[in-house]
Amino acid sequence: MKLNISLSPEVLFNIGWFPVTNSFIWTLVLSLFLIVTTIVIGKKLKMIPGGTQNFVELIIEESYSFVKSIIGTDEKAKKVFPLVFTMFLLILLANLATFIPGQAAISIAKENGPVPLFRAVMADYGLVFVLTIITVVLTQIIAIIVSGPFGYIGRFINLSGIKAFFKEAIHGKFKFGVLAQGFLDLFLGIMDIVGEIAKIISLSFRLFGNIFAGEVLGGVMLFLAPFFTPLPFMFLGIITAIVQAFVFAVLTLIFITMAIETGEKQEGAA
């Protein structure tokens, strides 16, 4: 027996030039499941709710009020909620789907050995990366919209302190404290660029790392001691699945909120 751990998703087959990986198929299946469920529930909405509708309403309403409590106003919350909640649903569903019994055992024979048909979606860096890019790009776009293109650039390349020093210097007053402050602002601004890039890595690898590690750990445990020993790790995996979905969605929400608030603060100061 050989333990096969692969960092990348396995390509099952090619459709023309498009390589279809196992995690991509999973993504499609889960998305289809979400879409069908949504349409079925959405079509059956009634003024007086039944059991399922009550549950759905409860979850959506509570999540919405949570989003609102973080972002502030109803208007902003209405715009952000669909994205954040969809991310949460997809990630949660993808993470929990790995606990469907038996799916890990199915594999397809290929020329260089068997390839598992299913793979935890979030243990494929692809979708995580896409979601993270959506978050980060959206954050930047919001920041540009809120504080204007020059305000946005000015946040990263902050020359206002140095400018203030030279203004004083023309009049013969050399305030080196202002100059030092200006350089510090410039340095902090440049650090912010690093921070934005780090966001991509921290956000994506937190989710990917946790789920991938959970998968690997589960696999190793199953390999070493197939009975009972993997159970605690599976429970841990379920907790991770829920927490990571929550963390990813909430961090997206917080990044967007921060982008709005920083822009508004800048506007207030200017």
Binding site: S6, L7, S8, P9, W17, F18, P19, T21, F24, T27, L28, S31, L34, I35, T38, I39, I41, G42, K43, L45, M47, V56, E57, I60, E61, Y64, K78, F81, P82, L83, F85, T86, L89, L90, D124, Y125, G126, L127, F129, V130, L131, I134
Partner: protein, 163 residues
């Protein structure tokens, strides 16, 4: 790029994933969040309206109850007054009727009395006349003498009045 290859990142798949997520987001928004939010909002409004209406109707009910009480009290008072008046009137009328009846009865009695008196007088008169005739006849028989009518009558009258 080595890291990218190790992680199995493929631009084609990334784009496909992105499109997939966009479709998912769109469908969930269109058929999930939007109708649910609309429904929630609708229901919230309905409930608000219901509560508002209930409050209003409660107030109105109170008002109506108070009005009812007032009206009832006024009606009671009025009824009492009317009854009192009616009683008074009835008593008055009763007195009048009794009085009138008494008067009438008195009159009738008086009339009857007068009639009786008249009758009595008439009877007496007739009786007297008859007695006079009778006495005259009997006297004539007794005396055997036919007195002249005038003298006779005078005599009898004297005798009667002496009695």
């Amino acid at each position: 790029m080595g890291l990218f290859r190790a992680l199995g990142l493929d631009v084609k798949i990334l784009i496909a994933q992105f499109i997939n997520f966009a479709i998912l987001l769109f469908v969930l928004y269109k058929f999930g969040y939007k109708p649910v939010f609309a429904l929630l909002e609708d229901r919230k409004k309905k409930i608000e309206k219901g509560v508002h209406d209930a409050e209003k109707s409660g107030e109105k009910l109170k008002e109506i109850e108070e009005k009812e009480k007032k009206v009832l009290a006024a009606a009671k008072k009025e009824a009492f007054v009317i009854i009192e008046k009616a009683k008074e009137q009835a008593e008055k009328r009763q007195g009048e009727i009794i009085k009138k009846a008494k008067e009438e009865v008195g009159e009738i009695i008086n009339q009857e009395k007068a009639k009786i008196q008249q009758e009595k007088a008439k009877t007496l008169k007739e009786l007297k006349r008859e007695v006079v005739g009778l006495v005259a006849v009997s006297l004539e028989k007794i005396l055997g003498e036919k007195m002249d009518g005038k003298k006779d009558e005078e005599l009898i009258k004297k005798m009667i009045s002496k009695k």
